[in-house]
């Protein structure tokens, strides 16, 4: 090799020099301060989605503040992102700033993959203090904050068509379980699908429907004990919550093809006035406004599960929180780390918060001002109820639990709907899966 170098043309030598220079620069960039920092930024919201627009606005704000930092976005679809995240986390190849699912935070933090962000929240106190405390708690592991909530969501809202309810003899949404069951009967008699369900991907039943329903039956206390491994899925209160879900299916609350449609299709059934209700989160508000006829829009009401017989849960609890949080790679240091913290602050700061409201979403922090933002009435109503404590947020059922539990619950609820499993058997399966991860 050595004696060959003499053969190299001047041009090739020039190339080698540039290469060496480039190496030196990139070395410098990773060690000490330098003019140019590149941040790889991974998430799962494409430009066209409302969340994607919020991110774009936040990136603009960030660019103004950190002109020397280049942000390279790496966007994947939901399932791909989840898989990719796990693979890169396991192989130590996480990007610099990324969205992390609530489920993954404890293990990722304990594996030392996430940067401790408490310092950043103290340094940038204005930003840190504006963040909603209950949401910030989702990113806290063993007393340290490892991730900042990306937004606030309410994952359980029953959207109903009040005209259809009236036609079935109901002036208002029933406030007892029995009332709901007889409403379902009445609607079925009128050949209207009571609750449109599009549960092909198995999360609609597991979260928008079941998260809050489970809380009604078990109460938050049981849930906290479950997380502490002091309660079991096989406890009667949880089995009762599965039985309630099965009961809904048995009395014909859902369309017969509930497990082969997706959530867009359940919304479409409602918008086409083929179904009296559908259940999803606050993110469905904007599509309803965009897709409903003016007459229908006037008739859309929002409700939540009524209390259930013998249930320990508060009747005003709804599932919600953040679910997705922003985190930074623990390997970052120096200016790159500061830039990453700045990016996270931008993603959850004032500009991003305004953009969220403008796009029909809920920010994870309180805004200094909402002047000039036109918040849709339904979203404002929901926000106010959450803000005023009229509704209390309880965790999205599966998120703090291991991924396996989510998977088993999602498929198990489908099985309950086809009578392929009993609530007791499903509870045992959930417990088995849960214990596997302890």
């Amino acid at each position: 090799m050595l004696d060959r170098i003499s053969d190299l043309t001047p041009k090739a030598l020039g190339g080698a020099k540039t290469l060496a220079a480039g190496l030196a620069i990139s070395l410098a960039a990773t060690t000490a301060s330098a003019q140019d920092i590149t941040l790889r930024f991974g998430h799962l919201w494409d430009d066209a989605s409302p969340d994607g627009k919020v991110i774009a606005a936040a990136l603009d704000a960030f660019a103004a503040e950190f002109p020397d930092v280049e942000v390279v976005e790496e966007v994947l679809s939901h399932d791909e992102y989840l898989a990719q995240f796990k693979v890169s986390a396991a192989s130590g190849a996480l990007v610099d700033v990324f969205a992390v699912n609530r489920t993954d935070i404890p293990s990722a933090a304990r594996a030392g993959l996430l940067r401790d962000l408490d310092g950043a929240m103290e340094t940038n106190a204005q930003w840190g203090e504006a963040l909603t405390d209950t949401l910030v708690a989702e990113g806290v592991v063993d007393g340290e904050t490892y991730a900042i909530p990306a937004f606030q969501i309410v994952t359980h809202v029953i959207f109903y068509n009040s005209a259809m309810l009236e036609a079935a003899g109901y002036e208002s949404f029933p406030d007892t379980w029995e009332g709901l069951l007889s409403l379902i009967d009445a609607l079925n008699e009128k050949d209207v699908t009571p609750i449109a369900l599009g549960n092909k991907a198995a999360w609609v039943a597991a979260d928008p429907l079941f998260s809050t329903l489970a809380n009604r039956a078990t109460g938050s206390d049981w849930y906290d004990r479950l997380l502490a491994n002091e309660a079991k899925f096989t406890d009667p209160e949880f089995v009762a919550s599965l039985a309630l879900f099965e009961q809904l299916s048995d009395v014909g609350a859902f369309n017969a093809d509930a497990n082969s449609l997706d959530n867009d299709q359940q919304k479409a059934l409602f918008l086409n006035e083929e179904a009296a209700m559908f259940i999803e989160g606050n993110w469905a508000i904007q599509p309803i406004i965009d897709g409903a006829s003016p007459e229908l829009l006037d008739n859309v009401g929002m409700a939540i599960w009524p209390s259930v017989p013998g249930g320990a849960g508060a009747p005003n609890a709804v599932s919600g929180g953040s679910g997705w949080l922003w985190a930074a790679n623990a390997d970052l240091d120096g200016e790159a780390a500061a830039a990453a913290e700045g990016l996270i602050a931008a993603l959850t700061g004032e500009v991003a918060g305004r953009a969220r409201l403008e796009n029909g979403l809920m920010p994870s922090s309180s805004l200094q001002s909402t002047d000039g933002i036109e918040v849709p009435a339904m979203l404002a109503e929901l926000s106010n109820q959450v803000g005023s404590g009229e509704l209390t947020l309880v965790p999205i059922f599966v998120l703090p639990l291991p991924g396996g539990v989510f998977d088993v619950l999602g498929k198990g609820l489908q099985d309950l709907m086809t009578d392929s499993v009993t609530p007791e058997a499903l509870a045992e399966k959930l417990q088995e899966e849960y214990e596997r991860a302890l």
Binding site: L82, A89, S107, Q414, D415
Partner: protein, 299 residues
């Protein structure tokens, strides 16, 4: 001119690229998979798990259930896809009947369409209220035959199989047509002269001469049956419950939804071994049956 005589070293140099490519594509994933199968992920770190994953697999009713789905689909596919494809090919080969390019194209077309696209099309066919299938039955006054094609756990697997048969039957027709072109057409005429009917000719004269083609078709059907992934994923997500989940999706869900990479790899490795064994056994049996008489040229 002196012929190029590879020395040992130059031989290695020439082989190295293909050995490397083969290594990366085949050997590395298998080795990594085997390593994974003796570990499990905990807090994003792979920890030694011994044979726990294998033990868990043996007792995993869900896994055996979804494997049963693969077996059902594969069995039905061989019966309703490979066999009819053979007869269609023999029929198309009789030049005085069809053999029009059009027919060949029509049969083969679905094969080249992406599974995701066909799945979406068939979702529309199977739709409960407005789907082509149930609407047609309604028009024919056969409401009693209407089904929840994708929602009834007893039926969904057959609906899926129908789509797979529809999509891939053309592949087998083409394979059999290729096999047919290799056999002496006069033997078919001789059978005709000898008084054999269409089915007798197909079964007694054509089939035994195409044992290798049949072997290829069986191997494709078997490995295809174990590889199914996109169709159920798009059409039903594997549901309701596990009713239409196949082993590939199960392994995928275990790895990526449950983040149990070790167990996912264990399933993948086991299924790979299982399919290899099945395919080899199938080949061995076919070979045994046709050792001496094989009509296709050996060399």
């Amino acid at each position: 001119m002196q012929a190029f005589q590879p020395t040992r070293r130059s031989l290695w140099a020439l082989l190295a690229p293909s050995v490397l490519v083969y290594g990366f594509i085949v050997v590395v994933p298998v080795v990594v998979g085997i390593w994974f199968s003796f570990h499990e992920m905990r807090n994003f770190q792979m920890e030694w798990a011994g044979v726990a994953n294998y033990a868990r697999m043996a007792g995993d009713g869900d896994l055996w259930f979804v494997l049963g789905n693969n077996v059902t689909i594969t069995g039905l596919a061989i019966f309703f896809q490979v066999m009819p494809a053979f007869f269609i090919a023999v029929l198309m080969n009789r030049k005085d009947i069809w053999a029009e390019k059009f027919v060949r194209t029509a049969v083969f077309l679905p094969v080249v369409i992406s599974p995701v696209v066909t799945s979406f099309v068939w979702i529309l066919v199977f739709n409960l209220d407005s789907g082509l299938l149930n609407s047609t039955l309604a028009v024919l006054g056969l409401e009693a035959w209407q089904q929840r094609w994708l929602d009834d756990p007893e039926i969904v697997i057959y609906s899926l199989t129908a789509v797979l048969v529809w999509q891939y039957i053309g592949l087998f027709v083409v394979i059999f047509l290729a096999g047919l072109s290799a056999i002496n057409p006069e033997t078919l005429e001789a059978a005709d002269v000898d008084g054999a009917s269409f089915f007798q000719t197909a079964v007694l004269v054509v089939l035994p001469q195409m044992s290798r083609t049949v072997a290829v078709a069986m191997v494709l059907a078997l490995s295809g049956g174990l590889k199914i992934f996109e169709h159920p994923l798009v059409m039903t997500g594997g549901g309701p419950g596990l009713a239409s989940t196949v082993v590939a999706q199960f392994a995928y869900d275990v790895s990526f939804r449950r983040a149990q990479f070790g167990y996912g790899a264990t399933i993948a490795i086991t299924i790979t071994v299982l399919s290899l064994v099945t395919v080899l056994a199938c080949l061995w049996i076919i070979n045994r049956l046709t050792v001496r008489s094989s009509g296709e040229t050996d060399a």
